[in-house]
């Protein structure tokens, strides 16, 4: 159009350690050995847990779950950057991050085995339970960030994770708008894993990047190599620092890939090509990061073997814990429907328990 230009916008991309192992030392974050090994360990644990959980699920010993394989860097990198004061508001595909936040694998397994008890991590961990309705947790993050700002809590921010599919939901848009208007300490991390079940990224949005959606809110936005844990750490670190210093929210698009099925109920062969998947296995975030650690002399085959064994044992212990637990309280739903007592609810509880009793007597179930 022959009209007068009034605004310009630009969008950047961040990669620190590329697929071939090339490192941009200017951008390399200064992380201690402890930190580097902590995040590697978490990524590896998440990967192993996926494998084991898939087997359990196939054997009918676990319910449906959403594997995170391929996205370990995109979730664990940001989580490493977070302090325990920060809030973790996730979706349903961030096992590695949740485990770093103090969740135990045994508890996660309990959740995937159909028990609310699996969500009962103490509130002090500032890690919300899994949120299944796509995008619906993003407004919660904004509200929490508002509370942080309202109370003047120092060095505290809220990090929320969601998928590429979530960017299509109204909740995403409304929440980013609120966050920007309110200038709250929030970091929005979009896990662009290229698929929302069977719908590819390009059918989810006609925009060239997802990061550019931040422009709609005049919010800083950046596209990051989501399989590069150093880049993800760095982008989140900067976003958190901005948040801590009162400069408002940031949007991060992590470009990554869901290497496995959407959930254990899904068959990706129906909708995507082997080749594409293979190409992304070449960019495996774990392999890339392990080489980096090895290059730094921080990691070797022996350590890897030891870690693998330790994690296998840990996972087995968690499965044992899961399967060894004794009875859940059948009427817990009545305990947790309201914070106050009501005659109607208590009468229904009594009816429910009497029914259970009759069954027991009759020898049913």
């Amino acid at each position: 159009m022959p009209f007068r230009e009034i605004e310009r916008f630009s969008l950047s991309y961040l990669q620190v350690l590329d697929e071939k192992g090339n490192l941009d030392t200017d951008l390399e974050p200064k992380l201690s050995t402890d930190e580097l090994l902590r995040v590697y360990r978490a990524m590896f644990l998440a990967r192993e847990a996926d494998q084991r959980m898939l087997k359990l699920q196939r054997q009918g010993r676990l319910g449906t779950f959403a594997p995170c394989t391929g996205q370990e860097a995109a979730v664990c990198g940001p989580t490493l950057a977070m302090s325990p004061r920060d809030w973790f508001v996730g979706a349903f595909r961030e096992l590695g991050g949740r485990l770093m936040r103090g969740e135990s694998l045994a508890r996660a397994l309990l959740y995937y085995n159909g028990c609310e008890e699996g969500n009962a991590l103490p509130a002090s961990a500032r890690t919300l339970p899994v949120a299944i309705p796509v995008g619906s947790q993003i407004p919660h993050a904004v509200g929490i960030a508002y509370a942080v700002k309202y109370r003047g809590e120092k060095d505290t921010a809220v990090v929320t994770f969601f998928g590429d599919g979530a960017t299509s939901e109204g909740d995403f848009h409304e929440a980013l708008n609120f966050a920007s208007v309110w200038q709250v300490p929030a970091v929005f991390i979009c896990q662009n894993n290229h698929w929302a079940i069977s719908v590819p990224r390009r059918m989810q949005s006609h925009s060239r990047t997802l990061a550019q959606k931040a422009i709609a809110y005049d919010m800083p936005g950046v596209q990051v190599d989501g399989n590069d844990v150093l880049a993800m750490y760095r982008a989140t670190r900067e976003a958190l620092d901005r948040a801590y210093s009162g400069k408002g929210p940031t949007f991060i698009e992590a470009v990554t890939y869901r290497l496995m099925m959407h959930t254990t109920a899904d068959d990706p062969n129906k909708y995507r090509a082997e080749d594409e998947v293979k190409a992304w296995w070449e960019r495996d975030p774990l392999v890339r990061f392990r080489r980096y650690l090895e290059g730094k002399g921080l990691w070797n085959e022996t350590m890897q073997t030891a870690l693998a064994e330790e994690i296998t044992n840990g996972v087995e212990a968690a499965v044992k814990e899961l399967e060894g637990r004794t009875g859940i309280k059948p009427d817990a739903p009545f305990d947790h429907i309201f914070g106050t007592r009501h005659q109607l609810i208590e009468e229904e509880r009594a009816e429910f328990l009497a029914g259970l009793e009759r069954r027991k007597e009759a020898g049913h179930d």
Partner: protein
């Protein structure tokens, strides 16, 4: 003691609760400088500032969604939805989250919040500004639904809702906002959520109503009493969910006759649930079917026809008399 309208009484409750507890904050469209389109939040922006009386962008889902976040973080947000006709936009956040964080986390996470919304017809308003859809919210487990009917109980119930540990949908009958005044004590007054009130005792028939239907109901009860001396017991529901079974069933067990007055369309409304409760627990004392006086199962007409559709004192009176004569 001052004689206040419901709008003033609600304003008083908000003011007192905000003074008492700095975790309480208000958010919604036009609740700030404008004081709310009905002036319920008038003066509070000036008193408590823009960070506690928040004019949000125009997006109901995230008004609730961010209030949920505030509640999770320990605040006590009071969200306003400008008209209940737009409250369907909050359904998902309400059903999927506000109502569930407690059970989902076995009590670790709770969402103490209030959603205030004006509802109901009879004020010559535009489309979407006159519905009464309390049943929709009441069917969501984990949500409390409260509907005051007068300035005094509005004030005391709003205070209770704000202090309640659960999400409370607080529906305010627009028609009663300024229709009459009532003495409201200056000192704090907090009513218990989950309790109905017998506002008038009687032995011959029970009428159950709530919200803006209370006034025509009381008028009808008086007329029936004057016309034929019948003792009509009138129950103001006040809490729609969870229902106060004891008060409802107790009264009907005594009178054996019952009329329920509901502003909403007939089917799948609150009146049906009351009838089901009576059926469950005290059917055999009934000397007549429970009568429902309701709107019809049509889209609420624009105000040109609206008054023909809303229950009024005359229809209520007819139903009472027919039930007495049954």
């Amino acid at each position: 003691m001052t004689r206040l309208t419901m709008v003033q009484a609600l304003n008083l409750a908000l003011d007192q609760e905000m003074k008492r507890d700095d975790r309480v904050l208000l958010l919604g469209e036009d609740v700030g400088v404008d004081g709310g389109v009905f002036r319920v939040t008038d003066g509070l922006y000036e008193k408590y500032g823009g960070s506690r009386v928040i004019d949000t962008p125009l997006a109901e889902a995230t008004i609730l969604g961010s209030a949920i976040g505030m509640g999770l973080a320990g605040l006590r947000p009071v969200a306003e939805i400008q008209f209940s006709g737009f409250s369907y936009l909050i359904s998902a956040q309400l059903e999927c989250h506000a109502s569930r964080y407690r059970s989902r986390s076995q009590g670790v996470w709770t969402v103490p919040l209030v959603v205030r919304m004006p509802y109901g017809g009879g004020v010559r308003a535009l489309e979407h500004h006159s519905e009464s859809r309390e049943a929709t919210f009441a069917h969501f487990p984990g949500v409390k639904v409260v509907i005051p009917s007068s300035p005094r109980n509005a004030r005391a119930l709003l205070a209770a809702a704000i202090r309640d540990p659960d999400p409370v949908i607080f529906m305010e009958p627009i028609r009663s906002y300024r229709a009459f005044r009532e003495e409201v004590p200056d000192a704090e007054e907090v009513m218990e959520i989950g309790k109905a009130q017998v506002v008038q005792e009687g032995k011959d028939l029970t009428v159950i109503a709530w919200g803006a239907m209370m006034r025509p109901t009381l008028q009808a009860a008086t007329e029936v009493h004057e016309a034929r001396g019948a003792g009509v017991e009138v129950i103001d529901l006040l809490t729609i969910s969870p229902l106060d079974v004891g008060t409802i069933v107790g009264s009907v067990a005594k009178t054996g006759r019952c009329v329920v007055v509901q502003e909403a369309p007939r089917s799948f409304g609150v009146a049906s649930e009351i009838i089901a409760l009576i059926n469950d627990r005290t059917l055999l004392v009934l000397e007549a079917p429970v009568r429902r006086v309701t709107n019809y199962d049509v889209v609420t007409p624009y105000f040109g026809r609206e008054l023909l559709y809303l229950p009024d004192a005359q229809r209520i009176q007819e139903a009472i008399e027919e039930t007495l004569d049954y």
